[in-house]
């Protein structure tokens, strides 16, 4: 007699706690390390407010590192979750959060904002957000109606929109010759350094409901993987769920990108990585991506700030250099089982 399958919610709680225990030290490390040095005890004092902190370190920890670490957490969570959802929605393992035109649209918006001389926040951020929502609307228009549920149409439209946007971006970059070119390049490479605490709280307010909604839809995501027909005849409103997933995820990724530019390689690697470790059930993967993806980017960002001698390197380099080999290793291990 086989023992009954353990309840999903028990597994969920266990994994959530485990990942939380991974996240908290990651956050602490992120606050301890920076381009001006690594200080454990002093930062611990600064956090617990035990009075013997020198005010410069206090400023550095709370006003420079804290918003940055928080932003890294939110961005890591969002990109991982975005990749997870699009991989399920489009039933394609190469899907990543920018695939439905978000990278192209937001980049064009940001570049136009930078060229117009707008300030980083809110000007350029709003422009980037507007750009990515515009491309989303274009894609929705192109795939409107029944055909949206056919997964390849969404994917193809996204790829085409991104390709077109790339051309526009190349053109805009080629005609820019002054200092604004630097701003554009840094935006395109992704940059977690440009936000203050207040701005990060605003982002959290925008993202939190999205996380909740996507968690509620996680069971439906499982069923979507079985194909339209089975999903629908098992009680899922596939059109409604598809639309909800698409809009929520696009909104969430757009908001994130408008804060920090295009940080790559997180949304592709983390969901696969977690899926190899934890299995394909989205009810577990959604919170895992939020916590695990967040921890991943916090750690990568910390390394990006500490490793190079001359200031920081773009965090996208670390996520790729860490993510790719790790992923290949896991892939080999899973194949051999």
């Amino acid at each position: 007699m086989k023992p009954p399958v353990p309840f999903v919610w028990k597994r969920l709680l266990t994994i959530t706690c485990l990942l939380f225990c991974l996240l908290l030290p990651a956050l602490f490390l992120g606050l301890c390390a920076g381009s001006s040095g690594i200080q454990f005890m002093a930062v611990y004092d600064a956090l617990t407010g035990s009075g013997n902190t020198d005010s410069i370190l206090h400023d550095i920890v709370w006003r420079i590192r804290f918003p940055r670490v928080m932003l890294a957490l939110l961005v890591g969570s969002t990109l991982s979750l975005g990749g997870l959802v699009f991989q399920a929605l489009l039933r394609n393992p190469l899907a990543e959060p920018y695939i439905l035109g978000i990278s192209g649209g937001s980049a064009i918006g940001a570049i136009i904002g930078i060229l117009a001389g707008l300030s980083r926040f809110p000007g350029v951020s709003l422009a980037a957000f507007a750009g990515s929502i515009s491309t989303l609307l274009v894609i929705l228009f192109v795939t409107s109606g029944q055909s949206m549920i056919k997964k390849d149409i969404l994917l193809l439209s996204g790829v085409m929109v991104n390709a077109f946007c790339s051309a526009v971006i190349m053109f805009l970059v080629s005609i820019t010759q002054d200092a604004r070119l630097h701003s554009i390049i840094f935006w395109l490479m992704g940059d977690l350094s440009m936000s203050e605490t207040g701005q990060v709280w605003i982002l959290l307010l925008m993202l939190f409901p999205c996380f909740i909604l996507l968690f509620l839809l996680s069971h439906s995501m499982n069923l979507l993987l079985l194909g339209r027909e089975i999903a629908q005849t098992t009680g899922i409103n596939i059109k409604g769920v598809t639309l909800a997933l698409l809009i929520t995820t696009s909104f969430m990724v757009s908001a994130t990108v408008s804060y920090c530019g295009l940080i790559g390689f997180v949304g592709l690697v983390v969901p696969h990585f977690l899926r190899l470790l934890l299995g394909p059930d989205h009810r577990i993967l959604v919170p895992a991506c939020v916590l695990g993806g967040g921890a991943y980017l916090v750690l990568c960002d910390m390394m990006a700030r500490v490793l190079p001698e001359q200031g920081e390197m773009p965090v996208g380099i670390i996520t790729a250099m860490v993510g790719a080999p790790l992923f290949i290793y896991l892939l080999k291990r899973s194949k051999s089982r």
């Binding site: 009954p4 309840f7 499982n222 069923l223 079985l226 629908q232 098992t234 059930d281």
Partner: protein, 270 residues
């Protein structure tokens, strides 16, 4: 009591009518099989009954209520559907998949309780896949997968089960196994079985009622003896056939006639 009642449905794809003024009735607890050549509209009919496709005209009633009156979940508790091809690009285990069949009875997160686990367990036993419980679905054979999907369908606790060519790519043993499973479903649980089949003989052996479709229209409906006559079948399928009485029981046996035997057949009969 009528499980499925279809009145004058017509379904167009573009300008072409795939179903042309179809009316039929399926009584509860019967084993109903739909036959017909390719393109006759069998799959579209199944999709119409299950609510996946909407006919342009006509009415579909399930268990006496019009299809539109069902909520999606309630419909899923009444009808389970197994399409012809199911994607296998996921890594769920057998148990996880079967438990997904409980979705119509669960909340939005599908968190399963003791009752769900019990029903899933019984479904696994019924189709005979308990030994595969922890295996990954994409590593099993077609026949095993088919049984697992039936177990999942059973978890929906449906009154009607629709299967679109369930034995199409299975070997002989698995074909019979699936058909016997359907028979048991009907007799032990009173589930109405509606199946599309391309295998005329299997249909003859199991179905109580047959529907023969051609180009979206009903050719004939009735018991196997009524429907599977040489004249009807040859006209529908447009090929030469040899039909005799199956030694196993009171139903016909249909054989294809290759060209090289056509003259011999005529000589024997004529």
């Amino acid at each position: 009591m009528t499980a499925v009642d279809i009145q004058h449905i017509t379904h167009f794809y573009g300008n072409r009518p795939v179903l042309d003024d179809i009316s039929l009735s399926i009584r509860t607890g019967t084993f109903f099989t739909i036959l017909g050549p390719n393109g006759s509209g069998k799959t579209t009919l199944m999709k119409t009954i299950s609510g996946i496709e909407n006919p342009q005209t006509g009415l579909v009633k399930i268990m006496g209520r019009p299809l539109q009156n069902y909520t999606r979940k309630n419909l899923a508790k009444t009808i389970a559907f197994l399409p012809q091809t199911i994607p296998v690009d996921f890594q769920f285990t057998v148990t996880e998949l079967i438990l997904m069949g409980r979705a119509p009875h669960q909340g939005i997160l599908g968190l399963e309780d003791q009752n769900d686990l019990k029903i899933a367990d019984e479904a696994m036993k019924f189709v005979g896949v308990e030994h595969l419980a922890e295996r990954r679905l994409d590593r099993l054979s077609g026949g095993e997968r088919q049984r697992i999907y039936i177990a999942k369908a059973l978890c929906q606790e449906p009154r009607i089960i629709l299967l679109d060519e369930p034995t199409a790519s299975l070997d002989l043993a698995h074909q019979i196994h699936i058909m016997d499973l359907m028979e048991r479903l009907k007799t032990e649980k009173g589930v109405t079985v509606v199946m599309v089949s391309h295998d005329v003989n299997l249909a003859a052996m199991y179905a109580e009622c047959l529907l023969l479709l051609k180009e979206g229209k009903i050719v004939k409906t009735g018991s196997p003896n009524d429907v599977l006559t040489k004249h009807t079948l040859e006209k529908t399928y447009d090929c030469t056939l040899f039909i005799d009485k199956n030694p196993l029981g009171d139903f016909p046996r249909v054989a294809l006639v290759p060209n090289k035997f056509k003259d011999k057949q005529e000589k024997d009969l004529g």
